[in-house]
Structure formats: structure tokens, C-alpha cells
């Protein structure tokens, strides 16, 4: 039996970033950048190393599942929420992605943020985020998971509003926080319902209880307890993972620094919703209705966001909508029961989308802060490393063989094609979204790197980013290329190592009883490649020549304005809420009732005092009268027993 040094002290993995955050947060303000990032990188790097060691121990010990209770957090009656961490194949993937990609992005940030104010603050937040994200993925019960869930939301808010002097940034932060709150409300209700039904929030206990033969599978269209619980959990997931209808915060979240967009709003936090759905797959398997909703929402989001991405001109906004779209794919995978494929795409997406954001950050850095693609162009020869890294990521996200997303997206589309209800439609929409993905990504490439330069060369001095920014790009480029190769043998009739790896947790996801599944998969792969090529060709035809930004009208205008969803929310939700707050809560309840009561008491006292004051006339004889009145009253009281029968004698 090998010793389980890290596994038995699993808390060390999240604790290290927390320490880093605390040290930088408390002391960083007086330190030079060098010490600040040494602390932050040290904490994250050590955490990554510990994660690697934990994974090694996990496999060396031959366990399938590791769980340890460290201490009690809340104990009330039969309810127990403990600081329990668990480690299984799904956690392995998530922890390695979070710590690995997180570490790489930390390195990148040392270059990107080098000249920014609040360097220490940035790294303190970033480390804090790592802490909460690791809590989220390591948690062994819903309540602890929720701690991480809320914590990453907090860090997201802090980092979106990092440039707190900018109104749009603080607004975006608030928007992210409030929209997430709506989802979290559903998530909490879901947790309550689960506790009420299964009397536990512990993953192991809960899933064991749910998979007992007595628990019936609720047929499609029936809204039983599990269905409603799953839908509520999914509501939380739509908030966190930016799905319809709560995706609106993610594009605005691009106000944050670019490494934040890469780490939080592309690679890790926004995938938390997918993780939760995959983690709860035992429950979802009991409810085809909820699964179907997940699949449809995911598929719709994938397409919807992709259409908006097609017209955006801000390089980061394109990537933001792309993220929303790719998250939609992951939910589509979960919805059709291919949880493994969803997690697979989560992993590859973490690589290539982080790379895309970091490359975009490098472009913005080299342009001196410009984000509008219509003011770039022709950057290819000037920033070659960035270009090639971004190109690899673009090819990867478009889904060309043998890059990462080819395998993961294929697995998803294949699973969608074979799903029971409306699979072909889901597949068709997914494929269409893939065409759009390829299109908007190559549009981005052409607008940014090729054609004539559309910027003012006298003011913008394009320069390649320093090494501490380009090396992370290269690492991620390598991962974007190779990240999908776990599934490579499957293409030649072999095994899909990734889905086999996560099978102990998520189930095999094999489609049973399907004849010639392999040839079908090959065909679909071919179709997907054609789709990607189609997007590439259209983008090339439209943007390879010297283009100018055209007038926005018709469909383009609708897309450019994001289908007016923000305006719709403004009119339907925000507007009435503000109106009620202003005209009812403020002017009636606050001013009228609350202030009225307080001011009324005050002015009543003043009026009473004013009346009483006039009795103090200063006229001696009036005092004498009052003395007399007093005497009469005192006498009346004292002699009442005597006077009473005298005056009203005989009544008794």
C-alpha cells in the first residue's frame, strides 16, 4: 500500500492559493511586483505540483474513489455539512485543468499586468479565485460545492470590476453578480429539494440513494421531484455557465483584464455549471425531461451565441460569445447523456479558449490597448509568435483534424445524432453552430492579422509581447494541439481513452445496440470537417480581401445589437424593478412610511414641547394659579374617600 501523503491532506491543494491570496492581500501593497508574483506563482505552482502528486498517488493506490472528511462545518440535528473532499476521475480532470491552466495564466499575467496599478490586488484576487475553484471541484457535498460556487462568483465580480474607476467595468461586475444570483437562487432551491427528498447533500449518500432500484425513472414530460430538483440545479448552471436566458453577463464581463477573461470566463469558472450537471449525472439519468431541457438549452445557446459572434467587432466580445457557444456544446453533450464527451470538451475548451484569450490579450497588449478588430489588420508579420499560437487555437476551436476540438466536438455531435428524442435536429443545429464557429474565428484571424493595417502607425507601435507572455501561449498551443489525442485511437476503431477514463464516474456513455457505430462516427467526423472548412472558406471569401467596416443594417444590425436581448431585459425586468423601487419603495415606503414615522415622532415632540413651553409664561401670578390648581387636585385626591360619600352619598 503506497503512502497517500497528499491525498490524506487533500486540503493542502486549495489552501495554498488561499495563503497566497492572504499574503498578497495583506502585505502586497508595499512590495515590488517581483515579490508579489513570486508569492502568487509559488502558491499556484505548489498547488499544481500537489495536484499532480495527488493524481499520482490516486492511481498508484489503485483506488477508484477517494473521500475524506476533514472537519464538520455545519451540524444541526441529522443534517451534516462537512469539509469533505473527494477525488475521483472527474476530479482528476477538473483539478488538473484548474491548477494547470491557472498556473500558466498566472505566468502570463506577470507580463500582461506588469504596468497596471494594483498588481498585488490582482494576484490576490486571482489566487483567491483558485482557492474557491478548487473547493468547488474537490467538494464532496453540495453545500461545500456551493461555497466554492459562490466564492468564484465573488472573485469574478471583483476581477471584472478590477478597473474600478471605469463605470462600465463596475457595472459589468454588478451585472455578473446579480444575474448569477438569479441562477444561484434556483441552485439553492434545488439543494433544499434534494435534501428534503434524500435527507443528505453528500454526493456519495445522495447518489447511492438515488440509484436504488426503488427510485423510479420519471418519464419524459412528467415533473416529479427529481426532475424539478435537476431543473433547479440547471438553473444555477445556466447562470454560472452563461446559458440562455442568463448568458447576458458574460459578454459584459470582458471589461475585466484579459487574463481574467481567460482563466475565469473561459477556462474554469464558467464550466462549473457543466461540472455540476456532470457530477449530478446520477440524478439527471433519472429524468429524461430535465436532460431534454439541458440538451435543448445547450444546443440553442450554442447556435444563438455563435450568430452574435459572427458580427461583433471587439476581439474579446467575439471570444466571449464563442465561449457561450462552446459552453452550449458542453450542455448539449450532457443533455444527450454523453457526460464524458461534455467533460472532454470542457477540458479541450479550457486549453484552446484560454489560448485564444491570452493571444487576444497579447494582440491588445501589442496594439497598446486597442480591442476593435476594425482598427487592426496586417499584424501577421509583426507579432509572429502570437499569430501562430492564435492560429493553432483557431484551428482547434474550428474543429480541424487533429486538433483538440475535433475530437471533443465530434464526440458531442455524434452523441447528439444518436440521442433518442429529436437527435437529428439537435445535431443539425449543432453542426450549423460549428460552421458559424469556424466562420467567426477565421473572420477574427483575417481581420486581425491580414489585410492592410487600419491603425494609425504613428501612434501605435506594434511589438511582440515579452517571453513571460509568449511561453504560456506556446504551452497552451501545444495542449490545444494534443489535448484531444486521448480519443485519437477511437478514430481508427480503437478505444476512446478519455471516455474510458471518466467512465467509472460518469458511466460509459456507449450507445448500445448501434450497428456500424464506427463507420457512422467516421462519416459524421467527415461532415464536421466539411462544416469547418465551409466556415473557413466563407470567412476567407468575405474578409481575406481588403475590407472596410460596412454599414450595419437589416439582419446584421439585429445581430450586432445582440437580438436586443439586453434591451428586452432592460424593459421587461430592470425597468419595472427600478420603477417600483423609485416610485413605490423609495417615494412611498421609504419617504412616506419610514421617514414619515421618524420625522413624525420628532415633529410631534417639538410641537408638544412648544405647547408646553407657553405655559412657562414668566407671569408670576399664573404660576400662583397653577400652584392653586395643584393644591386643589392634591386635596381632592387625599380627601376623595371623605368627599365621595359626601357628594354622592347614598349611591352605594
Amino acid at each position: 500500500m503506497p503512502t497517500l501523503l497528499i491525498l490524506n491532506h487533500l486540503w493542502i491543494i486549495p489552501l495554498l492559493p488561499l495563503l497566497g491570496s492572504a499574503i498578497n492581500g495583506l502585505l502586497g501593497w508595499k512590495w515590488p511586483n517581483r515579490i508579489v508574483h513570486s508569492v502568487a506563482l509559488g502558491a499556484t505552482g505548489l498547488s499544481f505540483a500537489c495536484a499532480l502528486e495527488a493524481v499520482r498517488e490516486f492511481f498508484a493506490s489503485g483506488q477508484q474513489f477517494f473521500r475524506k472528511e476533514f472537519f464538520d462545518w455545519i451540524v444541526a440535528g441529522t443534517f451534516r455539512a462537512g469539509f469533505d473532499l473527494q477525488f475521483d476521475q472527474l476530479t482528476v480532470v477538473m483539478v488538473l485543468v484548474v491548477t494547470g491552466v491557472g498556473f500558466v495564466i498566472h505566468i502570463y499575467s506577470t507580463g500582461y499586468m506588469a504596468h497596471e496599478e494594483g498588481y498585488w490586488r490582482f494576484f490576490s484576487y486571482l489566487n483567491l479565485f483558485m482557492f474557491f475553484m478548487l473547493i468547488l471541484v474537490l467538494a464532496a457535498n453540495y453545500s461545500l460545492l456551493f461555497v466554492g460556487w459562490e466564492g468564484v462568483g465573488l472573485c469574478s465580480y471583483l476581477l471584472i470590476g478590477f478597473y474600478y474607476l471605469k463605470k462600465s467595468a463596475t457595472d459589468a461586475g454588478k451585472k455578473a453578480f446579480i444575474v448569477n444570483r438569479i441562477g444561484d437562487f434556483g441552485f439553492m432551491l434545488g439543494m433544499f429539494l434534494l435534501y428534503r427528498t434524500f435527507h443528505s447533500l453528500d454526493f456519495q449518500t445522495l447518489f447511492d440513494a438515488a440509484s436504488k432500484p426503488g427510485v423510479a425513472i420519471e418519464p419524459l414530460g412528467q415533473f416529479g421531484t427529481i426532475t424539478i430538483a435537476c431543473l433547479l440545479l440547471f438553473m444555477g448552471a445556466t447562470g454560472k455557465s452563461a446559458q440562455l436566458p442568463l448568458y447576458v453577463w458574460l459578454p459584459d464581463a470582458m471589461e475585466g483584464p484579459t487574463p481574467v477573461s481567460a482563466l475565469i470566463h473561459a477556462a474554469t469558472m464558467v464550466t462549473a455549471g457543466v461540472y455540476v450537471v456532470a457530477r449530478s449525472h446520477v440524478l439527471y439519468m433519472h429524468t429524461p425531461t430535465a436532460m431534454y431541457v439541458v440538451a435543448i438549452v445547450g444546443c440553442a445557446t450554442a447556435f444563438f451565441a455563435a450568430t452574435i459572434g459572427v458580427v461583433k467587432s471587439d476581439i474579446k466580445k467575439v471570444l466571449a460569445y464563442s465561449t457561450v457557444s462552446q459552453l452550449g456544446y458542453m450542455f448539449l453533450a450532457c443533455g444527450v447523456g454523453a457526460f464524458g464527451a461534455g467533460i472532454f470538451h470542457l477540458m479541450t475548451h479550457a486549453f484552446f479558449k484560454a489560448l485564444l484569450f491570452l493571444s487576444a490579450g497579447s494582440v491588445i497588449h501589442s496594439m497598446g490597448g486597442e480591442q476593435d478588430m476594425w482598427k487592426m489588420g496586417g499584424l501577421y508579420s509583426k507579432i509572429k509568435i502570437t499569430f501562430w499560437c492564435m492560429m493553432i487555437a483557431t484551428i482547434a476551436i474550428a474543429g480541424f483534424f487533429p486538433f483538440a476540438a475535433f475530437f471533443s466536438k465530434d464526440a458531442i455531435l455524434f452523441a447528439a445524432f444518436n440521442s433518442e428524442h429529436g437527435g437529428k435536429a439537435l445535431y443539425a443545429v449543432g453542426l450549423l453552430a460549428a460552421v458559424l464557429t469556424s466562420f467567426y474565428m477565421f473572420r477574427l484571424i483575417w481581420l486581425t492579422f491580414f489585410g492592410k493595417n487600419r491603425y494609425d502607425e504613428h501612434h501605435v507601435h506594434v511589438h511582440e509581447s515579452p517571453l513571460n507572455m509568449t511561453i504560456p501561449l506556446m504551452i497552451l498551443a501545444f495542449l490545444s494541439l494534443t489535448g484531444g489525442w486521448f480519443a485519437l485511437p477511437a478514430l481508427f476503431g480503437g478505444k476512446d481513452y478519455f471516455s474510458e477514463f471518466v467512465a467509472p464516474v460518469l458511466g460509459s456513455g456507449e450507445i448500445a445496440g448501434l450497428e456500424n457505430a464506427h463507420s457512422l462516427e467516421l462519416t459524421l467526423s467527415g461532415v464536421a470537417m466539411v462544416a469547418a472548412a465551409l466556415g473557413l472558406i466563407v470567412a476567407w471569401r468575405m474578409y481575406a480581401k481588403d475590407v472596410r467596416q460596412g454599414k450595419s443594417e437589416g439582419l446584421h444590425k439585429i445581430l450586432y445589437n445582440k437580438y436586443y436581448v439586453d434591451e428586452l431585459y432592460q424593459a421587461a425586468v430592470v425597468g419595472p424593478l427600478v420603477w417600483i423601487s423609485q416610485n413605490v419603495l423609495w417615494k412611498v415606503v421609504d419617504v412616506g412610511v419610514i421617514d414619515g414615522a421618524v420625522n413624525g415622532i420628532a415633529s410631534g415632540t417639538t410641537a408638544a414641547g412648544d405647547t408646553a413651553r407657553h405655559q412657562q409664561s414668566g407671569n408670576t401670578r399664573s404660576y400662583a394659579v397653577w400652584v392653586l390648581v395643584g393644591v386643589v387636585v392634591v386635596f381632592a385626591i387625599i380627601f376623595w374617600p371623605v368627599l365621595h360619600p359626601a357628594l354622592f352619598g347614598g349611591v352605594r
Binding site: S617, R621, L628
Partner: protein, 100 residues
């Protein structure tokens, strides 16, 4: 012998007259006289009770009251003289420095 009640009735009438003079008159000296009248009404009551009960306590009280009244008259008349000098009036309505 005159019944005690008669003395008490007389005392009450004198006291009431004193109050009326105190409350309704404007001249400070008249008010002062009202006060003296009330004091002496009380004295009368004390003496009457003393006689009725056959005890000297009431008479001793009366001696004290007369002493206090003498002191009070000295102080009170002093105040009146000063007021008359400063305000050139004996009307109590004009003595209203404390009034708002």
C-alpha cells in the same frame, strides 16, 4: 365659648381672600398683603386647634410662623423697593424679565 368651627371658617375666609388678592391684584404691595393675610389665616387655624385640643403645639407653631413672616416681610419689602426703583412701577405685569 366660641366653637372651634367658627374660628376655622373665619380662617378659611381669610385664606380665600388672601388667595384672591394674590391672584387678581396687580399691585405688588397688595399681593404681598395677600400673602401676609394667608399666613395669618393659617395662624388663626393653628391657635384655634391648639385651644380645642388643649395642647401648646399650635401656639409654638404660630410663633415660628410669625418669625418667618417677619423675615419674609423684610426680604419681600426689600425686593419691592428695588423693583420700584428700577422699574418705576409697582405693577406686577411689568416685572416680566423671564418672559419669552
Amino acid at each position: 365659648m366660641v366653637p372651634t368651627n367658627y374660628y376655622l371658617l373665619l380662617s378659611a375666609i381669610l385664606f380665600g381672600l388672601g388667595i384672591v388678592a394674590f391672584v387678581f391684584k396687580r399691585n405688588i404691595i397688595t399681593i404681598f398683603m395677600g400673602i401676609e393675610l394667608m399666613l395669618n389665616a393659617v395662624n388663626l387655624a393653628f391657635v384655634a386647634f391648639s385651644q380645642a385640643l388643649g395642647k401648646p403645639d399650635g401656639e409654638v407653631f404660630v410663633l415660628f410662623v410669625i418669625i418667618v413672616a417677619a423675615a419674609e416681610a423684610a426680604v419681600g419689602l426689600g425686593i419691592i423697593i428695588l423693583t420700584a426703583r428700577n422699574r418705576r412701577s409697582l405693577n406686577v405685569e411689568n416685572v416680566n424679565l423671564l418672559k419669552l
